[in-house]
Symmetry: C2
Subunit: 524 residues, 2 copies
């Protein structure tokens, strides 16, 4: 992490050997201010965390601009490394750690549909649309690879704002879909972006597309395995050594460091750190959580939430500050009209690209669920609109990827690249502020706080028959087992999710929990 401190010389007169003291001090001070103002605005119906942070960032940017005599509005240069190595891992690990596993896995297929297939559809539409429309505004000079990158950059969603409005207890299905999609979307976007970077753009055909998809599947599988492995190892070590005996300090340190290690290992091996750390979080909250002392549990849970919160605020604060980067504005030689045209086109493509997968895929998911007899998972039209809306905001991942594609560690001298960076920032600002402000009213209108249709509240009903896992019942005759196996198999066809879940519970109770920790579930 290298801080380039323009601001420095103008403020410090007597010289300071630590070049990063000034930016860190300013950033920490503004962060504290953000926390306090965000708290005061908590009850406000328009504003949320992200918007507060962006506005405070802008304000600080203006002050710094004035102090530095219109030289620069930001005191630390954006660095994808800072973002991908320090800020993103705590956010994603926290997401995995706090996610309601049952809901998440119950809707796993729908989430995957939205998060993976959706990103592919959306990025194809945005790439094609911008390829076709940008030259018509007189904005050319982008390579095919750039267009592909634009497609992925603007397919990454930022659901922070929506999740602050949705309530896990009131609309569990909707919450789990939006949250789950957000996480899988992050991972997919980053993976797809990296795949596009490696793509040979001169030979774009079905084979290349299949190659990208194959790459994606490979990355998804290996990253998941790495994350689950790291989580299981941590759980095993924590259970086996019982750290609480001496002090809870080591437990907490290990609970923080091991997921981070899984993230870094994944990055080192060119896998997806996001997926690894997410699954590591899920596994650790399932097993490791039960192997530590009570105070370590409270600490881990809260400190992860706090770290994730600080990282998110930091990012939006930075986006706000960077919006006033006059150097990039000057460098981009576009007329105002053209910029406006490009931005509106991109916003339109984003809305379109998202609509193009949310509604069809929801219908598909509803059809599948109706066949499987789990009608409680039906996504109503109002829900579809909320899901569509929830993913229109663009956030930190878009910015980070844009910097990665169009700058060389935060610096660019090419006007076209500078334009793309400023356009990304404008779209992130616009979508976060305008769409973000409308989110609370919209959701209030679509989903009244205490809806009378209790379907939304009802937990999905689970088939109550006593399923027994044939392979695990040692003490019964083979004939019974075979009969049971047949029965179970026909049930698997009928309602796959519940059956898989049931078998998983059995397996978990018999083999996993005794080794990796956690209480046996109450069901006999």
């Amino acid at each position: 992490m290298e801080y380039y401190n323009y601001f420095y010389e103008s403020v410090m007169k007597n010289g300071n050997e630590h070049g990063s003291v000034v930016p860190i001090t300013v950033f920490v001070a503004v962060l504290c201010l953000c926390l306090i103002i965000g708290h005061l605005l908590e009850e406000n119906r328009w504003v949320n965390e992200s918007i507060t942070a962006i506005f405070i960032g802008c304000l600080s940017g203006i002050i710094i601009l004035l102090v530095s005599n219109w030289r620069s509005s930001h005191i630390l240069r954006f660095d994808e490394e800072l973002f991908f190595i320090y800020l993103l891992p705590p956010i994603i690990f926290n997401a995995g750690f706090q996610v309601k596993k049952k809901q998440f896995f119950h809707n796993f297929l729908t989430i995957l549909l939205f998060g993976v297939v959706g990103v592919f559809i959306s990025s194809v539409i945005i790439t094609a649309g911008s390829w076709w429309l940008f030259p018509r505004f007189g904005f050319g000079g982008l390579t095919p690879r750039d267009y592909l990158a634009i497609g992925t950059i603007f397919s990454s969603t930022d659901t922070v704002c929506t999740l602050q409005v949705l309530h896990q207890d009131e609309t569990p299905l909707l919450y789990s879909l939006v949250f789950g999609e957000g996480v899988v979307n992050d991972a997919t976007t980053v993976v797809l972006f990296n795949a596009v970077q490696k793509l040979d753009v001169n030979r774009l055909d079905a084979l290349a597309a299949a190659h990208v998809f194959g790459d994606f599947l490979y990355l998804f599988a290996t990253s998941t395995i790495l994350g689950v492995g790291a989580g299981l190892l941590t759980s095993y070590v924590l259970k086996g050594l019982y750290f609480g005996k001496h002090s809870s300090v080591r437990e907490i340190a290990l609970m923080m460091l091991m997921p981070y290690l899984s993230y870094m290992l994944a990055e080192l091996l060119h896998l997806s750190g996001i997926l690894s750390v997410f699954f590591c979080g899920i596994v650790m909250s399932h097993y490791a959580w039960h192997n530590i002392t009570e105070s370590s549990r409270i600490t881990t849970k809260h400190v992860l939430a706090a770290m994730s919160f600080i990282a998110e605020t930091f990012i939006f604060l930075y986006v706000g500050m960077d919006a006033l980067d006059i150097e990039k504005w000057k460098m981009s030689k576009l007329r105002f009209g053209t910029s406006l045209g490009i931005c509106s086109t991109l916003m339109l493509l984003i809305c379109l690209g998202r609509a193009a997968f949310v509604f069809p895929l929801s219908a598909f998911s509803n059809y599948m669920n109706r066949n499987a007899g789990t009608s409680s998972s039906t996504i109503t039209f109002k829900h579809q609109v909320v899901i569509w809306w929830a993913g229109l905001m663009r956030g930190a991942v878009s910015i980070a990827l844009a910097f990665k594609q169009f700058t060389f560690s935060g610096v660019t001298s090419d006007p076209i690249n500078a334009t793309m960076v400023t356009i990304t920032i404008i779209i992130v600002l616009f979508s976060t502020i305008v769409f973000g402000m409308l989110t609370k009213p919209l959701i209030k209108c679509l989903l009244p706080r205490h809806p009378h249709d209790s379907i939304l509240h009802r937990e999905p009903t689970c088939p109550k028959e006593d399923l027994t896992l044939p392979l695990l019942s040692y003490d019964e005759s083979t004939a019974t087992n075979i009969a049971r196996a047949k029965e179970s198999f026909s049930m698997l066809i009928e309602s796959p999710v519940y059956t898989i879940h049931h078998y998983w519970r059995k397996f978990d109770d018999c083999y996993m929990r005794p080794i990796f920790g956690g209480p046996r579930s109450d069901r006999s």
Copy 2:
């Protein structure tokens, strides 16, 4: 923080855009290993955390040496910035936050004597001794400023190891003295070091010495005020806004960020960040602690301990790795005999310099306490030996200061400077390992676990008379107040510490706690 990753090219074949992925991954992995091995060796009578970390660091260094074909043993270059900006603040804040305030302030004068006057005495002896003896070994070329720096560098103690052996409940006086001295010593050393940097070495006279001392007093006062101010502000904000209403996340974030802000502000203003953050910690544990929710309290306490623990382990791990830095070894052109002579001389001077203040100052403190009638605070001879021993280890601060004095952000090409850095590392290694290993047996021998002389156990007895603070009793006649004032004044002469403490409690209850938070003390 800049990582220079030599190791990088030899390991990575297909190129990785993030230059710091490899060192971070290796460091986090080795840290986790350290945690686990440290836990397994907890019951061992010779080894402690620091020694484990140093050995594992050496081992990793050897492995890295082999992997990198004898090119370098460390994968990230030591940077004082990394140390002073990221690792030291959590350690010191945690110290202030967890210190038993009553004991600390009860022995405040003695602690100041050891921590301030002691450092001055010790650094004078080491400077004079090395100035006189180094040329006799044929090792010249150091400037007067270097000798002064050597004096301060080797006056900084590292009491981590001793504190792991002493028990707060068994020997409260001793624990509080060793702990308190450690913190004040850190601050004094850094301040003195900075004062020496600014000193005009051509005019070294009594005036210059007085100037250094004046500087020190100024820094001590302003840094303390800044830290106390930051702590009070945090407490006030936390009490006034009641963050727990919405979520504990903001509370925790603010409890972490505000002390850090006070540290960075102090550094920005060229004050002592260590002192600021230490007093900020004390004030926050006294007030802010009571204004947050229960879960935030548990989280703050444990996560601070964990962060401090990780930072300490990280430092010793690094020291272990750096010990094998063959480049510096090659660069230092000294014969083995000379190096050995210089190291032994320095070790001797360290022992001497510490003895020269611990025993006289203890006697002085005993004399003062006997006069004040608080004989329970008497420091027995055995205790004096333990205090002397406790401060013989040299640690991270020494290393950081040596790098600051003798390298330019971790790099040096001068043989003499390289020699001084390697000698500092040798002394830190030697004192930590050899003295560290002997600490547990020594303390076991001097202070048996369940001593029969109950004086060590007894809490210092406090004069039980009902003191009333004259200025704060509004509802009584002036005559009574004046009589009380006289009585109180004579008491102040007789036993100053208790009287001050009593008045402080009154003031605290009447004015401070209602504003900044915390329960009223039980005494009426």
